[in-house]
């Protein structure tokens, strides 16, 4: 009799610890979102390196459990909490920038310097979204963190939101990565809307050959120029250009390979998984998150429109033969290389021999620098 009583009580008690007993509708909704991310990555090939860790992280973060077992990402001492520290304190984003720097070839930018200005113009998306967020009663810090989604740069968005609005970081990161994955869907209609059929077939001059010396000097001079102007952008800009120097110096091949290979892979896994985990239903499923998604979309649209419009205006001042195809204006957002790929695909639609990819890589990498500079400015004003 005692044994049966013990058995039933034990089973009942055990049940209270299970996810089934603690599940809420919010958890289930988030798990479905996580599965959708994974499906998007596998079936549609949308940013799989990011969406699979994030999607799985969302599932992990929304498995219901009893508090106090030191397993949740927000519980002190849990493994996930330790890993989340790198996100919370902005450790991972600069490391990812190191890898990006070691991967990026700035030749397209060096060979055609005027393309860098497109990268600056596209940052209007950030500040446009900032203004709209302020109108929607977000605080300046929150508005700044939301606006950075328009930079289309996941690590920068995480870095800035971890400083300015840590409570919104999960929603901001998910929003930024989602829209980066949806760049091929969001950008083309705006590009078509803002360009004429004549502009879309503009052929650009092939880029000139860039010397080794130029490539080595580029990161060194860029860090001096940008970091002195915006020291608060140092963690991101410093790592970006340091990674690039490792690559271009050609004498640190091993370091460059590690930074652009195993290291960035490890950090991508950690950042993706922990950002996903941070989207627990209780903190994520709010009206605020929906607003962040809406503002994120607005910032992407504004950034794309600003980049394309800037090229059109810029063309007014350029001689025939030097004109820029406005279809590379969208690449001013720093979603590397997806937005440049969109330029290429759209360009080929209107002229099968018009290859815009390498031209679009110029504003694309300029966008990386521009968004890091913009993040530094927001940090210096609002933090």
């Amino acid at each position: 009799m005692n044994f049966i009583q013990f058995f039933t009580e034990g089973i009942t008690q055990f049940f209270t610890y299970t996810g089934f007993a603690n599940a809420s509708w919010g958890n289930l909704v988030m798990i479905v979102i996580g599965l959708a991310f994974i499906a998007m990555a596998i079936i549609k090939d949308y940013e799989p390196l990011l969406l699979i860790p994030i999607g799985f992280g969302i599932i992990l973060g929304n498995i219901p459990f009893v508090d106090g077992l030191q397993i949740g990402v927000y519980e002190d001492g849990s493994v996930l909490n330790y890993l989340y520290f790198g996100v919370l304190k902005g450790v991972y984003p600069p490391l990812i920038f190191l890898g990006i720097g070691a991967m990026t070839d700035f030749s397209a930018l060096i060979s055609n310097p005027k393309l860098i200005l497109i990268g600056a113009a596209a940052q209007f998306g950030i500040f446009g979204a900032y203004i709209i967020a302020l109108l929607l009663d977000f605080t300046p810090q929150e508005a700044g963190a939301i606006g950075i989604i328009g930079g289309a740069d996941g690590p920068t968005a995480i870095f800035l939101s971890s400083k300015l609005a840590p409570s919104m970081m999960g929603a901001i990161a998910i929003s930024a990565y989602s829209y980066m994955a949806l760049v091929p869907v969001i950008q083309p209609p705006i590009m078509r809307l803002l360009t004429t059929s004549k502009e879309r077939v503009i052929k650009m001059r092939p880029p000139r050959v860039v010397t080794h010396r130029e490539k080595v000097l580029f990161p060194l001079l860029c860090i001096l120029l940008t970091a002195f102007l915006v020291p608060s952008g140092l963690p991101l800009l410093g790592m970006l250009f340091f990674g690039n120097l490792l690559k271009e110096s050609s004498v640190t091949k091993r370091l460059a390979n590690t930074a652009s290979g195993p290291m960035i892979d490890v950090v991508t896994i950690l950042i993706g998984l922990t950002v996903g985990c941070s989207t627990q239903a209780s903190t994520f499923l709010k009206v605020e998150s929906l607003m962040i998604f809406g503002l994120g979309a607005a910032s992407f649209v504004l950034a794309t429109a600003a980049g394309v419009s800037f090229v059109k205006i810029f063309n007014l001042f350029l001689k025939e033969g030097n004109k820029i195809n406005p279809l590379i204006g969208n690449a001013g957002v720093s979603a590397v290389p997806d937005s440049a790929r969109v330029s290429q695909v759209e360009g080929l639609k209107y002229n099968k021999t018009n290859y815009l990819l390498m031209h679009a890589m110029g504003p694309n990498v300029a966008g990386v620098i521009g968004s890091a500079v913009a993040a530094g400015i927001l940090l210096s004003f609002l933090y």
Binding site: P113, A120, I131, E214, K215, L348, M361, A366, V373, I377
Partner: protein
Amino acid sequence: MNKKRLGLISFFVLLFSMNAFTQHISDLRLNEMLINNVDNYIDEYGRHVPWIEIFNSAYNNIDVAECYLTNDTTGLADGSGIKNWYRIPKGDPKTLLSQRSFVVFYMDNAPLYGTFHVNFDPCEEGSSNYVALISSNGRTLIDIFEFPEQLRTSTEHSYGYFDDGIKGVEDANGNTVSNKGFLDYFTPGSTNSVFMGLTKSEKVAQEDPYGLGLAFISMSVVFIALILIYLMLKLFARMNRGKAAKPAHGEVKTDAVVPKTKVIAEEFTGEELAAITMALHLHVSGQHDEESEVITIETPSAHYSPWSQKQLTFKQSPYKK
């Protein structure tokens, strides 16, 4: 004569030096005080007890050792009160206050607890509403700190000078008024002049509610940063153009190939050009014809583009020649 003059100069230099290094004990100020310490500053025993802060308003070190602290100045005139007052012990290095620094004494009537625990407690019944700091001679009052009765019950505010050690300030009419009152923040061991201004974010919200100013400034800075890089790259291009203009020794400069390239680009599709480029690459790099993999220009059946692979969009790491 010279020796006499030298002696006089040395004497005055010594005199001034001594004056400069003399301790101005009168520069000590009783600066801030809290009696009803519920959840504020704790002593080294973890207790919440009344405390008083002494401030060295001078720009040199002052040792408070051997001075007296009391809340009953009876006997001050003839120095007979010293037996009842708390004499700050000599020999504790912490009693030496560096310029513009602070020290906190606990008024817990527990002098055996250490140097900074005095022998009176303002919470005791019948105790006076002041604390006095008296010099080591027992007759010179250095400072007296009077406090209102409300301080005995106040848990939210300490009482002290709004500006450290400054007893009176001029009001708008030029009259000197007391600079003492209930402070907004407890600051034991640190300055009372705490300015809790607006945070950067609050300031931005106040001065730029619609964000237009910040957007304009930020866009300008982004453009300036990237224009600087643009100018640098233009310089690169100019330097490079100079080199390109000079043909290498023995080379004949010709642009006969350029028109052909244009013709090719217009006649062939992208896939065909890719296949030709690949074939040329294999030929130039001397790779074997029989490859383990099949090279094709057919569109893959899956929704896939080589451009979605990030590593393919970047050039290979350079190698040192």
